[in-house]
Symmetry: C2
Subunit: 316 residues, 2 copies
């Protein structure tokens, strides 16, 4: 009998759970609202409800599940499984979530942040299979990264390593939401691609982006992507520039880590995927590593289910 | 009987060797010129001469030495011990240096680049003792870095990881010798500190730097250091700015790697050491890691002997 693990992906408003088999396949899923009160027990109850829903759908899982992994908003301590003080989940302050889950469900539980966990899922089951050193990035609303060595997440001193979205690529650049200047996230996350597009557009130039969005204020990265696929010149300029900025950033990643593979997921990664070859060849200008261009740059296996798969991977 | 290892530090013009005991103490040393011809055998003979000089000074070493480690200019392959095509050592092209040394001296031999090796020496014997994840940087003529996890050098895919001197901190910055723009080395290596000083000085301002150097063209980082220690205002401005730039860079290192300790050596590190506390507290602006300032930033144990100690550490 193959063992399975449950992955739980906690966000500010929802808890998604899934049953994941030994090959990383998600065989059933559940989704419930996350408790919105400041009550720690209510938050735990939301997680329990999502997990119980899995057991209702797949009763055999009660005996097959060997662990429950949880992706939660940080900061958190992956070594102890304690949730520290996440701004998006106000119900938990120094809350021993892993221990509570173990107490309720009687299986080992692990907690980590979403990008670390999703990187592990790619290393075990996805685009990073067979590689020793995996650099993973999720390019979406923010830019999160994970570093996986020998199928283990690299955590650093306190579990706060691999915050690659906040690598400074221009110390004179614009101030990021994090307070630093010129982070790659400040240029290349979805909302920042939209911002750059809004700053670029008022020149009076016609663009399908504006037609799709309806107004300048309404422009989102999705409109840029749709216009790009339709051949719009401004969208192409924005996407090309984004590829250039991501190449500069990957140059730093390669010169520091020289990973065996770079796996990128998220909506922005999908948008950029037709530029992956250009980005790899552009590394000849932005990495001193003469063989940087040989390192595969590939799309992640998991899309919107990266959190569930990643959480489930934590117990493998 | 305690085991010892020999460390050999090969540069473009010299070969230095040392006998190193189990606590990292260098108990005797030798130094010979490096062969300057294009002849591979002559290069090997220079290394042999330096090692033989150790055995002549310490005959008991013939039975005590358990390995010979070698720092050589890159590119090289630390896994196979092959020197690839170093511009500074033209006698060797795809030369199996480790295998040749093993053939001659009948002990295991290892080859690595100087910053990786020096970082390992700090982790085993120096300022990094007791820390799991060590980030090491040598700030001198260039900026070299080493990453040591669990007392082992992190090499990456082909041995070219940890080229931290070429992390881009400003993609609009000046072109570095490596071809990238805005590398930290382009701002904060010794020659680049001198360059920034020369660019700063022609304003007609009086400075002890010019008196020490004799002329603008002759300004070197050493003059900046001497003038700084004497209280010169321009030198203080340059050193303060260098500390700021290094802080930005360390912010990227911390946000990616969150090491347990940051060890820095070399002449520029000594110059900057009175700013280490400022740099650590400056990380609150340049790392999103809220506990970045807790990470020790310390001077390396080894100075000019880092190459010998590092090479000897390769066989521990």
């Amino acid at each position: 009998m193959a063992t399975k693990t449950i992955g739980v992906d906690i966000g500010g408003t929802k808890v998604a759970a899934g049953l994941v088999d030994a090959s990383g396949e998600i065989t059933c899923k559940s989704r419930v609202p996350m408790a919105s009160t400041g009550d720690a027990a209510a938050g735990l109850a939301s997680v329990e409800t999502a997990i119980d829903a899995i057991f209702e759908q797949a009763p055999e899982a009660r005996t097959e599940v060997t662990g429950i992994g949880i992706c939660a908003p940080g900061p958190l301590d992956p070594k102890t499984g304690v949730i520290l003080n996440p701004p998006n989940v106000p119900c938990w302050r120094n809350y021993p979530l892993a221990a509570e889950i173990e107490r309720v469900f009687h299986v080992p539980a692990r907690v980590d942040n979403d990008a670390n966990a999703a990187g592990l899922a790619e290393a075990l089951w996805g685009a990073g299979i067979g590689y020793t050193n995996v650099f993973f990035a999720i390019l979406g609303t923010g830019i999160g990264t994970g570093i996986v060595f020998d199928r283990k997440i690299y955590h650093g001193r306190t579990g706060s390593a691999a915050e690659g979205g906040h690598v400074t690529i221009n110390f004179n650049g614009p101030v990021c939401g994090c307070g630093k200047r010129g982070c790659i996230e400040r240029y290349a996350s979805g909302p920042n691609i939209a911002r750059r597009t809004r700053e670029r557009l008022p020149g009076g130039e016609r663009s399908a982006i504006l037609e799709l969005a309806g107004s300048l204020d309404a422009v989102r990265a999705e409109h840029v992507g749709e216009a790009f696929r339709a051949g719009d010149a401004v969208a192409r300029e924005i996407v090309t520039e984004t590829a250039h900025l991501l190449t500069i950033w990957l140059g730093t990643i390669v010169d520091l880590l020289e990973p065996d593979v770079m796996v990128v997921g998220g909506g922005v990664a999908e948008l950029m995927s037709s530029f992956f070859d250009d980005m790899r060849s552009g590394l000849k200008n932005w990495a001193i590593n003469q063989r940087a261009g040989e390192i595969p740059l590939v799309l992640a296996r998991y899309g919107s289910e990266a959190g569930i798969a990643g959480a489930a991977a934590l117990c493998r």
